[in-house]
């Protein structure tokens, strides 16, 4: 079997070599980088623009963005037919290719996020390292912790007021520089598609901007979702602990903070969601109005074959429904959860409709290709380019986040207050 043949159904006149070569992992790739960029922008809203209400979720978003960052290149790796050569992109980048910029943008961005995290949590590293150093009989775990935190301090033990002030300044600068870089990281993912002149659906200069807007939407939504989940777990823990434990907040305290944060964050989510929908509709209207050569086949795909995917699932369930849920007065946590899950689904469907939709018609403009996502992995190929591979990619950032929580005290600061 030729690569792509297993999940492609051809209809009418399609060139013999045409298959759906870019499948689920290429849907996952912009989805994941979008989450990274969006989470970072959310954290920057607090660090740069000083939006105090977002303080709680901002620190959380930064750590989560870091966890997502490691998962972002994995879909690309799983997609490559020669994954062992993936590093060639860094060794011999061919700069006329949009993908070649990946190495530089990705590493620049990683460096910014990592150093910003270091400045934010430096005080904690130093304090933990000092505390563990003084401890006489360290357990094995504590000894390991001691080594990790000593390394993390990078030898900078000064946590005087002046030094911490300098840290704050550095965080602000890094977060500020990070916003355009995050936008670039994702805008260039949009450029990868928007610059393919052979693909009638992809080729539009709006693609990078649409991608950035929907990226921010999805990033904020995922942060809200994960934030709510972790807060719910903390609420459960808080109600289990007896009131005699001092230092822990009560269930009600956590709930108050949670609703407040969700309300604030959802406003920014709405703002970017409206931007994203407007741009996508502009693109659609423009295509219909100009009606160039490719419009006949595009119309049959958009309004016919992919109607449910685009108008029902993406615009209806993924955009309109959450828009109404968020605009409805008196926001509750439960409604917010439904809203953000629908938003995430909507953004995923948008990526799907771009990547798969762009390949659902032939270069001949007189044939179609249907994509059948491999559900059960029967071999390596149907695993990595199937549902199982996509779910693996989705799970990785959460696993990393659990590990990072042991290093970065995302929630303990609220506890200390």
């Amino acid at each position: 079997m030729v690569h792509g043949e297993i999940w492609t159904i051809k209809e009418l006149f399609v060139y013999p070599n045409e298959y759906i070569y870019w499948s689920i992992q290429i849907v996952m790739y912009p989805f994941m980088t979008g989450l990274v960029a969006g989470a970072f922008v959310l954290s920057s809203l607090y660090h740069v623009f000083g939006i105090k209400e977002l303080k709680d979720i901002a620190k959380f978003a930064l750590v989560f963005s870091f966890a997502l960052l490691f998962a972002a290149p994995l879909p690309l790796m799983l997609h490559l037919l020669q994954p062992q050569r993936g590093l060639y992109v860094f060794f011999t980048p061919h700069f006329t290719s949009a993908i070649a910029a990946f190495g530089i943008v990705f590493f620049t961005y990683s460096a910014i996020v990592a150093s910003e995290l270091w400045f934010v949590y430096r005080k904690h590293f130093v304090e933990t390292a000092k505390r563990l150093k003084q401890k006489q009989d360290r357990t094995f775990g504590e000894a390991a912790q001691y080594i990790v935190f000593t390394v993390l301090t990078l030898g900078a033990y000064d946590i005087g007021e002046k030094a911490l002030h300098a840290d704050e300044k550095a965080v602000k600068i890094l977060a500020g520089v990070g916003i355009p870089v995050a936008a670039f990281l994702h805008g260039y993912a949009g450029f990868i598609f928007g610059s393919v002149k052979a693909n009638a659906l992809w080729m539009t200069p709006l693609m990078p901007v649409i991608f950035i807007m929907s990226a921010i939407v999805s990033g904020i939504a995922l942060c809200m979702f994960t934030y709510i989940v972790t807060m719910e777990i903390r609420k459960l823990l808080a109600s289990r602990r007896s009131a005699s434990y001092r230092g822990y907040e009560s269930r009600e305290q956590i709930k108050g903070v949670e609703v407040n944060v969700i309300q604030m964050t959802s406003r920014y989510l709405l703002l970017f969601l409206v931007f994203a929908i407007s741009l996508e509709l502009l693109d659609l209207v423009f295509r219909g109005y100009t009606a160039v050569k490719s419009w006949d086949v595009l119309r049959s795909v958009i309004y016919g074959r992919d109607f449910i995917d685009i108008f029902i699932l993406q615009y209806g369930v993924g955009n309109l429904l959450p828009l109404m849920l968020f605009l409805w007065p008196r926001m509750t946590v439960r409604r917010a959860v439904i809203g953000v899950v629908l938003v995430l689904f909507g953004v995923f469907m948008m990526r799907w409709n771009v990547v798969i939709g762009g390949q659902s018609f032939s270069l001949t403009f007189s044939g179609y290709m249907d994509y059948h996502l491999p559900i059960m992995p029967t071999n390596w190929e149907t695993y990595r380019e199937g549902l199982a591979g996509a779910l693996t990619i989705m799970a990785i950032p959460y696993a990393l986040f659990l590990i990072f929580l042991r290093i970065f005290p995302v929630f303990s600061e609220a506890r200390q207050k």
Partner: protein, 257 residues
């Protein structure tokens, strides 16, 4: 007041600063001129002569070791059938490796449709292969430079360097690229580069019993292919993409995709 020493220094820096870019452009120009002296391979395809026998596809698959059963091919033949009610049917089942026979037009994985000869206004065959574009989008998008254009215009793939991302496949408006079923890297027609660089004809041209396909050197004014391209009415495929394809067709109809 400028000293003599400073004056001399500025003169040297200024001269060097002007000369260096000029040298570089001159060097680049020299390189371009060098490639102009050699051949620039092109293909001439006469659709009037093609009968859709598929021998070119068979020969190509054997010569270039593309598994016979694999539903991909470096070259293929398309059949166009225009019916009296103005409908256009087109197909290329298995890249036409078995040739066209009978009146059933393939509808892809959805079966086929028999079109009786009495319904047909016109029908013809169009052979396809890589256009070795002057401005190849596949070369532009390769993230690692594994696909490149040789001085004679042929676009090649380095099987040892291709990472298999498929970006070049996406970028080609002609659908000539695919993943090699054995080597799992991007694959395409290269005008049988291993043959033409030794003065031999490509496999498809040799296999064609009707002389529908000819390779030529556009830089050679006495090459018969060049003479036809220069003196007769020829057309190219999908000009609107700006890729400047170098396959010239005789008798191309507006229905051709």
């Amino acid at each position: 007041m400028i000293t003599r020493r400073d004056f001399l220094r500025y003169v040297v820096i200024g001269a060097a600063g002007t000369a260096l870019p000029l040298t570089l452009t001159g060097w680049k120009g020299a390189r371009a001129a060098a490639s102009k002296n050699g051949p620039r391979w092109v293909f001439l395809l006469d659709t009037y002569k093609c009968v859709g026998c598929g021998l070119c596809v068979k020969a190509c698959k054997i010569e270039n070791e593309i598994p016979f059963e694999a539903n991909v091919s470096r070259t293929w033949v398309e059949r166009y059938v225009v019916t009296k009610d103005g409908k256009v049917y087109a197909d290329s089942p298995h890249a036409a490796r078995d040739g066209f026979s009978g009146y059933a037009v393939s509808l892809g994985d959805k079966g086929s449709r028999i079109i009786p000869p009495s319904d047909i206004d016109k029908a013809f065959f169009v052979p396809k292969l890589c256009n070795q574009c002057e401005n190849p989008p596949c070369v532009q998008v390769c993230p690692v430079g594994a696909t490149y254009q040789a001085g004679d215009g042929v676009v090649l793939v380095d099987r040892k360097w291709c990472i298999g991302c498929g970006y070049c496949i996406m970028a080609c408006p002609y659908g000539v690229r695919f993943f090699h079923p054995v080597h799992h890297v991007a694959e395409k027609c290269n005008f049988c580069y291993h043959r033409i660089t030794k003065g031999l004809k490509p496999a498809c041209e040799l296999a064609c019993p009707f002389g529908a396909r000819h390779i030529g050197d556009i830089n050679d004014p006495v090459d018969p292919v060049t003479r036809i391209i220069m003196s007769e009415r020829v057309s190219i495929l999908k000009e609107e993409y700006g890729t400047k394809p170098r396959n010239y067709y005789v008798g191309l109809s507006r229905e051709v995709r």
